[in-house]
């Protein structure tokens, strides 16, 4: 019978492709149960995506299924994923420079392609690796791409886009997170060098990075105008990786605390104009935040779908957990909120690629993403019961990983402050 044989061939292809779709290792699945693939988007009538976007997503999905997902559990346990290897694979596929200039190995496409990449990366079965990729593509490199000299771009941007060099972002410090303007790291000019002293915290990719996009104070003056972005090679004398931080979640992403002890860097390594560093970094916040939202949406779809599949076959009081109204109604509420957030993301992206400022919408989306992820993780984990409390399932990893969204990349409270500014409700 064609239907059964197709399943056999599909089975062989599963072994061949080492696909981890479904991801249940402890459950048997009902072959004839109906299943919708989480995002049933089609090319027709999509708000921002063309067939090329969907073709790109397909390629990324294949890379994730073959090169990344089979190893996630191991990398989570080890506390680190092989950034150079994975970034090289992604670089070869053209994924790391989607909206970067063509002259430096990028594709010069608009931000909707970055959003498509981010959405597809949400298929990775952890939050750490997409976050690490996001730092490489949309946090450590945008200012360099926009304002860096040709020499700087050739030395740092081109290899980062090709996947040959791993980048990290040095902005947050032990004493300064949300309050970026209060960072203490100093870069003092001496001849044609800067001498850097200080330290950075929460440095994603920090233990593996070849270079850091560093924000430091380069003069005394108003705190928003005395900082510069500097391309800092991580192998310079005086750069100390003090420790890899042991985190509650995002465990496959290595996060470092870094110290600078009289590190000397050529003054030509400043990106753009001295004193403009704070402004440059602020300019890319819209993209960073929309990128984070895109990622989370896909993973939330997957968590809902896996919860449906689990509760459909798990029985309590003689019937599937899913058949209890509180369960399927709650999942419907959560899916509704996911779709609302998706609409906000696509609307903000559509406006952004036309040249509009979407700071308010991007801040709203980031705020909602962090909060919805926490609600969704919590509600879904409850329905998994005891199994949800183990480390063998995606929902518990998502619960841990997604807690960061409300904290990093602009805390919820910062987002609220921005929205209030636009609503003109802040005390004057």
């Amino acid at each position: 019978m064609a239907v059964r044989a197709a399943g056999q061939i599909a089975g062989i292809c599963h072994l061949y492709r080492s696909s981890s779709l479904g991801g249940f290792r402890t459950l048997s699945q009902n072959v004839s149960s109906s299943k919708h693939t989480p995002s049933n988007e089609t090319t027709v009538d999509h708000l921002i995506y063309t067939p090329e976007h969907f073709a790109l997503k397909e390629s990324i999905k294949k890379i994730i299924d073959q090169e990344i997902n089979p190893h996630v559990d191991q990398w989570e346990a080890e506390g680190k994923f092989p950034a150079h290897r994975i970034f090289k694979i992604l670089g070869n596929a053209g994924i790391l420079g989607v909206n970067k200039p063509v002259e430096y190995g990028g594709l010069g496409l608009d931000f909707s392609y970055s959003v498509a990449v981010s959405e597809e990366l949400g298929n990775i079965r952890c939050g750490g690796i997409p976050m690490a990729i996001g730092v490489q593509t949309d946090m450590a490199t945008p200012a360099l791409a926009r304002f860096g000299s040709h020499e700087l771009k050739t030395e740092f941007l081109l290899p980062s886009i090709l996947g040959d060099k791993v980048a990290c972002l040095g902005v947050s410090e032990v004493g300064a997170g949300s309050d970026v303007s209060s960072i203490m790291t100093k870069a003092v000019r001496e001849g044609d060098e800067y001498v850097i002293n200080g330290g950075k915290m929460w440095t994603t990719n920090g233990t593996q990075a070849d270079w850091m996009c560093l924000l430091a104070n380069t003069s005394d003056g108003p705190p928003h105008r005395n900082k510069s972005l500097i391309c800092l090679p991580m192998d310079l004398p005086g750069v100390h990786i003090a420790r890899q931080i042991d985190k509650m979640g995002m465990r496959s992403s290595d996060t470092a605390e870094v110290f600078f002890d009289d590190v000397r860097v050529p003054s030509k390594n400043v990106i753009g104009q001295e004193g403009m560093g704070f402004t440059y970094q602020m300019l890319q916040f819209q993209e960073e935040r929309l990128w984070a939202v895109a990622n989370t949406l896909t993973t939330m779809d997957i968590v809902i779908q896996e919860t449906i599949d689990y509760t459909r076959q798990r029985k309590i009081f003689k019937m599937p957990v899913l058949h209890h109204q509180t369960v399927h109604f709650r999942l419907a509420e959560l899916q509704t909120e996911v779709e609302l957030l998706r609409s906000l993301l696509h609307r903000a992206t559509a406006l952004f690629i036309k040249g509009n400022d979407v700071t308010k919408l991007a801040s709203m989306a980031k705020l909602k993403a962090g909060r919805l992820a926490r609600e969704l993780g919590d509600s879904c984990l409850q329905y998994w019961g005891g199994m949800g409390f183990t480390n063998d399932v995606l929902v518990s990893r998502f619960y841990r990983d997604s807690r960061l969204i409300s904290i990093g990349g602009g805390a919820d409270e910062v987002m609220l402050g921005i929205i209030c500014k636009y609503m003109d409700t802040l005390p004057k």
């Binding site: 019978m1 064609a2 239907v3 059964r4 044989a5 197709a6 399943g7 061939i9 599909a10 062989i12 292809c13 599963h14 061949y16 696909s19 779709l21 009902n30 072959v31 004839s32 149960s33 109906s34 299943k35 693939t37 049933n40 089609t42 090319t43 067939p51 090329e52 969907f54 073709a55 790109l56 397909e58 390629s59 294949k62 890379i63 070869n92 596929a93 053209g94 994924i95 989607v98 594709l107 496409l109 392609y113």
Partner: protein, 254 residues
């Protein structure tokens, strides 16, 4: 020799999707379901593109038969490195009854028109599992065939094909022009990189109708009914080999 290779690609339901039978048992649900290129067709495209990269052949032409949507599949082939595409347009209604015999006739006609040196197909599609199109196409053209290929080597006017057969591996040498069908271990298909996806937008897909090729699509086969396989029953645990043998005898299987 023209140095032109024709590769047939089929758009099928994605291998990871759980298939559902339509309530009227006339077929499987395809509406709103994820489709992709048949995995064996991907392997066929990869083999052709590798031959071109080794400069053994000059041009790779991707062909697909079906309604408008199959153009997506042709584009995937173009993004993998095929040079141009041919979309043989078949209406959705006619597509329901399109089978290996009709497709073979189309491919045979195209091969003659394009003066192809080789036709490379996947050994079978994961929906129909027919494993007939390659063989029928070769027969219609009176060309040699190298099916279930796990290794292909072009040598002058011949092809050396290592075939996966029940007993192991068989190596044959056939003249070109020939038809080859790709088996699982022939190669590992490449990912379509984003630069190639964007370049593929500019590559041409020609539109052709079966009538233009002198092919009649009427099928003599009719699908009466489609059913899902029976649900897997729970298994039984046995304590020893003797128990196992007894149970198998009881069930009448030995």
């Amino acid at each position: 020799m023209s140095g032109r290779v024709l590769v047939g690609v089929k758009r099928v339901i994605d291998y990871a999707v759980k298939i559902r039978v339509k309530p009227d048992h006339s077929g499987v649900v395809t509406e709103g379901v994820k489709h992709s290129m048949n995995p064996f067709c991907e392997i066929a495209v990869e083999e052709a593109v590798k031959m071109k990269e080794k400069k053994l052949i000059k041009e790779v032409v991707a062909v697909s038969c079906g309604p408008q949507q199959v153009q997506e599949t042709i584009r995937t082939a173009l993004a993998m490195g095929a040079d141009r595409g041919i979309h043989v347009e078949v209406s959705a209604k006619e597509y329901e009854s399109l089978g290996p015999l009709q497709v073979s006739k189309i491919l045979a006609a195209l091969a003659k028109k394009e003066e192809a040196q080789l036709i490379i197909l996947g050994k079978q599609a994961i929906d129909g599992d027919c494993n007939q199109t390659g063989q029928m196409t070769a027969a219609l053209l009176d060309w040699p065939q190298g099916t279930f290929a796990s290794e292909v080597t072009l040598e002058g006017g011949h092809v050396k094909v290592v075939r996966e057969i029940d007993g192991g591996l068989e190596t044959i040498k056939i003249n070109t022009p020939a038809v080859l069908t790709a088996d699982l271990r022939l190669n590992t298909p490449r990912y379509a990189t984003l630069p190639n996806i964007m370049k593929a937008k500019k590559k041409k897909i020609a539109n052709v109708k079966p009538a233009d090729l002198g092919v009649e699509l009427a099928s003599k086969l009719q699908v009466l009914r489609v059913d899902a396989p029976p649900q897997r029953e729970a298994g039984v645990k046995v304590e020893s080999v003797a128990d196992l043998v007894a149970k198998l005898k009881e069930a009448g299987t030995i």
